[in-house]
Symmetry: C2
Subunit: 372 residues, 2 copies
Amino acid sequence: MNALSLIQGTSGQIERELHSIFDAKIARPSAHGADLRFLWEATASRAVGGKLLRPRLFLSTVAALRAPSAGGAPETVERPEFSPSELRVAASLELLHFGFLLHDDVIDDDLSRRGRPNLIALLAATRSTEPARDEESGSRARRLHWAQSCAMLMGSLLIAEVHQIFAAVDADARSDALALLDHAISESVAGELMDVGLSDGMLGADLPTIIRMSEYKTATYSFGLPLQTAAVLAGAPAELGPSLGRAGRHLGLAFQLQDDLLSMFGDPARHGKDAFSDLREGKETALIAYARTTTTWRHIEPWFGVGDLRAADARTASTLLEACGARTFVEGLIAEQLTALDELTARHDAAFPVPLVRVLDGLRDELVGRAA
Amino acid sequence: MNALSLIQGTSGQIERELHSIFDAKIARPSAHGADLRFLWEATASRAVGGKLLRPRLFLSTVAALRAPSAGGAPETVERPEFSPSELRVAASLELLHFGFLLHDDVIDDDLSRRGRPNLIALLAATRSTEPARDEESGSRARRLHWAQSCAMLMGSLLIAEVHQIFAAVDADARSDALALLDHAISESVAGELMDVGLSDGMLGADLPTIIRMSEYKTATYSFGLPLQTAAVLAGAPAELGPSLGRAGRHLGLAFQLQDDLLSMFGDPARHGKDAFSDLREGKETALIAYARTTTTWRHIEPWFGVGDLRAADARTASTLLEACGARTFVEGLIAEQLTALDELTARHDAAFPVPLVRVLDGLRDELVGRAA
């Protein structure tokens, strides 16, 4: 089993754990359980089915760090066994991700995710328990308000559950794991606020701001947190922590920049988002920040942030973004991050054990090759 | 020192602890700290200054349960000393309350709280870092969107912080305390969703539904959680837990019903909310549920949920609510809850120690006598 298949081979276990967490909520015997049941069921139907990138990265890092010694034989990480606590922490990383996505969808007024109606759209289609009231004028707007409120509160409940799971890990790892979670959540909120500030015109959309926003909003919780929590739970030397944090930032930035490219130049049938949604939403990405510095921008700007932009016009804008050099520029940024990652893992003093380097290489290959 | 002054006498310590928690966030040395600083400062300015009901109830219960034995002399609870961990848990109950208020304000589109602009209104008045952009049309709506997004995310950060504080209590109390927190948050969300469902017309506004909503949304986290967490931290016998839960429900319902009366018949200069805000928002309360069953309702209904209702019309509606018997009915419900509380604390098998009964009596007197 190579590193790539190791990273990919744990999905079944993670999905079973996610189902077991949701099933416990759905079957909750308390009085209020019945009132929340439909909401947990709806949330489970949307939360399961993702690529499980964060839990897979966490579990494969745990397995890699358990391999005996830095030069440990790679075969020792084949078919690893994970403890119930490790599987729960893995699943919790997906709950955290989904909780953030829910808040994101509320903030952005989005109704689709992963190529299908998101939780908000699903709930907004729910009929009232009072059929007569459903016919009132304005009831559609009220259902949407109700659905968005549900998504906001469910996002908070998911983040609460992640804390419960982290608070239940072994005593020798608990306080370090909780500190990592605290840092990651705080930084993600800082990033989300920068993102909102950029789209609401409260912040200037220059490249350094956008890079910092991506690092805060995505890299830390998606890469740094799984890597560093795995190290804490596997009892790895403390000095590995900061190096893993740096590796997470490089991977996270490469991932986010790749995501921006996919939204503009990828195949929507494969990446599952609305085609050109970033362009229609007027999302300030590294692509746009670069394009703004070119003379081509005045031809792109009329299409930027136009909610009902036609597909043909979106394709024109996309062609112009390529022509002005923005695509090449962002591809260069991705290559820089991956080179920095390679240099980091090759450094003797960074103390990356070989099995862990293989996991990072596998993840890097998965990210670069992805179409979704 | 009597029970009432005990309950009231801990405010200074709680406020100091709250400031110390916020100061640590504001002075956070991490890179993202600077990006969140203004938001933590703004949040602290709104979160401190409440009546601290929940932390005071928690601390006075801890002190009462520490008094030696059930018949312990009341003077032993004078000037109690609290451990740093107890003070942090006390403060965290205010953070939880404020986090819920933020989510509530986002859901209800509210801009004032405690008689002054709330966090959303404060942030919406913040100038952009890009002065030129501030003049754009639509910038006011975008600032409001940004401010509401900030409030939603800050609410989640506060709830996350509560978990961090609960996860750090002594090992012998930790898992019980975390389970109480989990239950309280889940039930509060169930109650909040019923509240939104009532105002968005997804649920029928009958009295049992409204009573259950109040119990879920307010009673559990505001009364049951402080009481039961205090018992766990003070090492009280486990069989006291369910009795405290019941006491919390009675107190919580009395408190919420009293709140409904204040909004309709109280002095806005003293209770600090917008006069008749419940009436203008069309809030489904026990008062309204009763009035709906009377023939007077057809005269009240035209004023119900009218956002720009004039004060004179609001006073007419209020007079009609009194005339139809709704006020007397709700006063009766409050008396029922307080009688049930008295019966519970007097029961031999409920095992309430005398100092704790004095605390509950003191709280009951504070609630009944309040004008705000």
